[in-house]
Every structure is written in structure tokens, then in C-alpha cells.
């Protein structure tokens, strides 16, 4: 019973080797009739290019090994060769469903290393945009995971509303997805006049849309049958496996980075952290649906308190001077030249900054060596960590349930492989 492990060199893989590959330390009974199934990488329900090696006993999953790396682009290595600001664009391309969150995590790490803090207006705009991003990302999750479970129409409606959010991003950043809008010390530029009314309009129609999605799913017997009691993970296991985000809170562990170690002034917002205790696919679904509503609450509060003022700090060693100053200030020209040729230097030392991305705790380890380029950037990618628990959740279930579980842990392969 062998199977090619892929790549140019055709390697035969035995069940024995597969078990070694998993690295989950699961006890497996030996049986003659087990077969190996290769699922993916080109498989729509693996949400990208993920390959799963599944050991099956009939239709029951005995063991499972995620095979990743198809999208590996060496982002951490490449960032070491760029200045702090130029490396920012790479973070957009990791978790391509939530570039705003990636930007924010990386920028906050730089600001922590530099010892500066963004202006009040910039912080509130950051909160609005990352919460919009959370809704947009959850809409893709809801649409695609429902699509995997044969609920086609939800997908179409979700993408309609997501498009509105992407239009808002285009309005502020000029880009729908690869925004690179947050910069060290603030934002790229202030939001346009029409932004606030557009977000208010979104807040007006969105709650009814979320109710619509729920109405499509909550009485759907196929959806309920395939999610309730499937892929259960206990709170203790979820902590040991490092799950974060909706996957952890679906198991009843109250850990949200926004509440635990607030950033960008999240301590001033009034919102709830939804919790469910069942730990199954349905619980994760409930948690994320409620998270969308809480995000809308946060956005509304943020809009109400949006202060006036600059969106960038005044430190010219970090933030370039406005174009208008270049005509009459020699100092501004020097700063401009230094920032665009060499970039700013950050002190030697290392920091870890965590934020709550739509997928869980997105952490950035950043080491500076006193120069203008980061000496080491490492991302704690929530998708990467959440994927590791997949074999544990899928054990002894049907192979079709694996699809439901992948949908529920909400992975993005761009972030896993980096």
C-alpha cells in the first residue's frame, strides 16, 4: 500500500511513514485493510493548495497528515532584505483574506520596537478598518464553508456584501485587497470625506443581511446534520494544541487578544466575546456569526468617537514630511531623501506583538539590529497553528467530515506557507 509523496522525485510512502509524518503522537491500531487517500492539493474544499494524506478504514479517518508548503514564498526571509516600510507589502500577501489585520500586526510591532504610538485619529481608523476586515473575512469563511456543505446560495450573498467592504478599502487605500494602508506612525493618508457616510450605510444594512444568512442555514437539515457534533475538540485539548480565534472560543475558552492585551485602544470599546461550549463545527459557526455582529458594534462606537486631528505622528525621522513642505524647507527635503533612500532605523532588541486577526492570534516577532532593515521577522500565523489540530479533530469521523472541519477552522494557505 504505497502512494507517491509528490514532487519531482516520486517517492513511495508507506503507512508507517505517514504516521511519522503526522507528528501528532496518536495511537493507531494496526489493520490490514487500511488505505491511503491523497486529498488535494488541487481540491476546492481544501481552501487553497493544501494536501491531506488520509489513512482510511473503509470510510472512517484513522489518521491524517497535512502536507503544506505549496505556497511557500519565503516571506520571512525576503523581509530581512528590505527596509521596515518596504517589507510591509509582503504582509498583505500572507493572509490574503485579511491584509488589514496583517498590516496592523506588523506595524504595531514596528511601533513597539521604535517606542512610538499612533495618533488618536489613526488608532480609531485602524480599529474601524480591521473590524471591517474581520467581517469581510468571516463572510468568505461563511460562504465557502457553507458551499463545502452544499449550501450554494449563502456563498453568493456573502460575496455581494464582501464586495461592499472591498469598495470601502479601495476608497481609502486605492486597493481592494493588497492595501498596505497602515504605516509606521499612522496611516498612509487620511480617509476621504465620503468614507464615514459609506460605513454608516454599511452598518444600516448589514445586520439584516447577517439575519438572512442565518435564516438560510439554521433550518437547513443538511447543514445542521453535518456540523452538529462533528469535529469536537475539548477546551483542554484546544489549549494544548494552541488553537486561537473562533476555533478556541467554540470550545469555551475565553481568550481574545483584543480583551486580554488590548491594542489600538480596544479597552475603550464595549463589546462581547462570544463563547460556545460544544467545541464542534456548529459551535465555531455560531461564534463567528456573533463575532460579525460584535464587529459592527465596535465600528459604530468607533465612528461615533472618531476624533479630528492628524493621522500621522510628527516625528520626521519616521514619517515623511508632506509634499507641500518640500518646496520651501531644506530640512523636509533632507528627511524625505533619507526616508526614501535609506529608511528609518529601529533600535536593537526584539519584541512580540499579538493582535486578534479574523483567524485567531496573529503574532509578530520582530528583531531589530539598529539598522534600517529588520534582522528577523517571524509570524505566528493562526492558520498554521490551527491546522495542526486537524488530525485530532477528524479522527474516527467520515472522510466527508474532514471537509466540514477544514471549513470550520478557517485556514488560509497563504498564511500557513508564508
Amino acid at each position: 500500500m504505497t502512494l507517491s509523496a509528490g514532487g519531482d522525485a516520486i517517492q513511495e510512502l508507506t503507512l508507517e511513514e505517514l504516521r511519522n509524518k503526522v507528528g501528532t503522537g496518536m495511537e493507531i491500531e494496526d489493520a490490514e485493510e487500511h488505505m491511503l487517500l491523497s486529498m488535494g492539493p488541487q481540491h476546492p474544499s481544501t481552501h487553497g493548495v493544501l494536501r491531506l494524506l488520509v489513512e482510511l478504514d473503509g470510510e472512517t479517518v484513522v489518521n491524517l497528515a497535512p502536507d503544506i508548503g505549496f505556497l511557500h514564498t519565503g516571506i520571512e526571509k525576503n523581509m530581512e532584505a528590505k527596509t521596515y516600510t518596504k517589507a510591509l507589502v509582503m504582509t498583505d500577501r500572507m493572509d490574503y483574506l485579511s491584509p488589514m489585520s496583517n498590516n496592523l500586526g506588523y506595524i504595531l510591532a514596528i511601533e513597539k520596537l521604535l517606542g512610538v504610538e499612533a495618533t488618536p485619529r489613526a488608532q480609531v481608523i485602524r480599529v474601524i478598518l480591521t473590524e471591517l476586515q474581520r467581517v469581510a473575512s468571516h463572510l468568505v469563511w461563511l460562504g465557502t464553508s457553507a458551499l463545502d456543505l452544499a449550501a450554494m446560495s449563502v456563498f453568493l450573498y456573502c460575496f455581494r456584501e464582501r464586495e461592499y467592504i472591498l469598495d470601502l478599502f479601495e476608497m481609502v487605500a486605492g486597493q481592494r485587497m493588497m492595501v498596505s494602508y497602515f504605516r509606521p506612525g499612522g496611516l498612509w493618508r487620511d480617509v476621504p470625506e465620503e468614507f464615514v457616510p459609506a460605513v454608516r450605510q454599511f452598518l444600516d444594512f448589514m445586520p439584516a443581511k447577517i439575519a438572512d444568512y442565518e435564516a438560510l442555514l439554521k433550518n437547513n437539515p443538511i447543514f445542521l446534520g453535518r456540523t452538529k457534533g462533528v469535529g469536537v475538540i475539548s477546551a483542554e485539548d484546544a489549549i494544548s494544541w494552541g488553537l486561537t480565534g473562533g476555533s478556541l472560543r467554540g470550545s469555551g475558552v475565553n481568550y481574545d487578544v483584543r480583551k486580554a492585551t488590548p491594542y489600538c485602544g480596544y479597552e475603550d470599546y464595549d463589546f462581547d466575546v462570544p463563547l460556545e461550549t460544544d467545541g464542534d463545527v456548529y459551535a465555531r459557526y455560531l461564534v463567528r456569526m456573533e463575532e460579525m455582529r460584535q464587529s459592527l458594534r465596535i465600528i459604530e462606537q468607533a465612528l461615533n468617537k472618531l476624533p479630528d486631528g492628524p493621522v500621522q505622528i510628527a516625528d520626521r525621522k519616521i514619517v515623511p514630511p508632506p509634499r507641500s513642505e518640500l518646496g520651501h524647507s531644506m530640512e523636509a527635503v533632507i528627511h524625505h531623501f533619507k526616508l526614501w533612500t535609506e529608511g528609518f532605523s529601529a533600535p536593537a532588541g526584539f519584541v512580540y506583538q499579538a493582535i486578534e486577526s479574523p483567524r485567531g492570534e496573529f503574532g509578530v516577532y520582530l528583531r531589530g539590529d539598529g539598522g534600517p532593515k529588520p534582522a528577523r521577522v517571524h509570524f505566528r500565523a493562526p492558520s498554521y497553528v490551527n491546522l495542526a489540530a486537524l488530525p485530532r479533530m477528524a479522527k474516527n469521523l467520515f472522510v466527508a467530515d474532514v471537509v466540514a472541519i477544514i471549513g470550520s477552522i478557517d485556514i488560509v494557505l497563504g498564511e500557513i506557507d508564508r
Binding site: 522525485a9 503522537g25 530581512e80 489549549i239
Partner: protein, 174 residues
């Protein structure tokens, strides 16, 4: 007493030689732990009722070339009950002789150590699952090391192979 201080006191009581250095930077506490003591320190941090660092957030390796010891492995811990973050930092001289695996304490460690081994080449003692994860199975070298070039390297021909090789930095101190 602040949890930062409690941690140091507890470790010093239990394992007097384990802590090499305590550093604070930007309100983050880093404990430099001796490699041989790492696992028992982790065990203490996880199981002690007043600490309860039950959540292993991340393991990440750092290459400090040209300094020696060259490699550092960071363990980013978090205590959900006490809402406190802590970083352990282990300095590693020889990447083939890395710290002991902490997979028996946190299940996720196996998976995080696999990433470190693949990209930085630090081998964790007792982790039998170390394999190429992101890179193809026949890949040579570990790309996140500082001596792994990002293009622009000198081309080695047979006549100058040894000469160029001698100029390259090496993983361990001779």
C-alpha cells in the same frame, strides 16, 4: 508582587542554575534559560498553580550571526488564567544539538518545532517528526539562516570552489 517577579523567584528557587539572564525591553520580559534546563523550567511554568503558563503561543528561532552562540530559540508563553505573557530564550551553540522538545507539555510544540527545523535547522532533541515541511524533501540548507544567500552569491566553479567555500560563514564555531 508582579507576576514578572514571581516567575523569576519561582524558577530561581526550583532550579538555581537555570536562569542565565533576565531582560526587559518595551515592557516585555525575557528569561534566558540554560538549554539543559528548558524542559523542567517549562514544566514548572505550566504546572505551578500561581503561574499556569498553559498556552504555548509560538516557538521561533533567531540567527545572530556573526555572534556566538549563534542561534536563539524563543518560546512565547501565555497564561490564560493570569493573562500574562512571558518569553523564554534559549541560546544554542550547535544547531544539531538543540533544546529538548516540549511536545509532552504542549501538543502544538511538535508542529512548531518542525517549522523551526525546516527553515532554521535547529534540531530538537526527542522530536522524531522533524522533516521538510515548507520546502521540497530534497532541499539543501535552511533558508532563514543568515549565511543562506538571498541571491547575488558568487558563482562557484570547480577551480575556485574551495576558495569561495572558505569565505562562507559556517554554522558552528570551529
Amino acid at each position: 508582587m508582579n507576576l514578572d517577579e514571581v516567575v523569576v523567584k519561582k524558577i530561581e528557587e526550583a532550579f538555581p542554575a537555570a536562569l542565565e539572564e533576565v531582560s526587559d525591553f518595551r515592557d516585555e520580559r525575557t528569561l534566558y534559560v540554560r538549554k539543559a534546563d528548558l524542559k523542567q523550567v517549562c514544566q514548572l511554568l505550566r504546572d505551578d498553580a500561581s503561574l499556569q503558563y498553559n498556552f504555548l503561543t509560538d516557538i521561533c528561532a533567531d540567527d545572530m550571526l556573526p555572534d556566538f552562540p549563534r542561534f536563539a530559540v524563543n518560546y512565547q508563553l501565555y497564561s490564560i488564567p493570569h493573562n500574562h505573557r512571558l518569553r523564554l530564550r534559549v541560546l544554542v551553540e550547535d544547531p544539531e544539538d538543540g533544546p529538548e522538545t516540549v511536545a509532552s507539555l504542549w501538543a502544538i510544540a511538535t508542529w512548531l518545532e518542525m517549522e523551526v527545523w525546516d527553515l532554521m535547522g535547529v534540531r530538537f532533541k526527542g522530536n522524531t517528526s522533524l522533516r521538510r515541511l515548507f520546502l521540497p524533501e530534497d532541499w539543501q540548507g535552511h533558508p532563514l539562516r543568515k549565511d543562506y544567500p538571498l541571491g547575488y552569491e558568487e558563482v562557484q566553479f570547480s577551480f575556485n570552489f574551495d576558495e569561495i567555500n572558505a569565505k562562507k560563514p559556517h554554522a558552528t564555531k570551529d
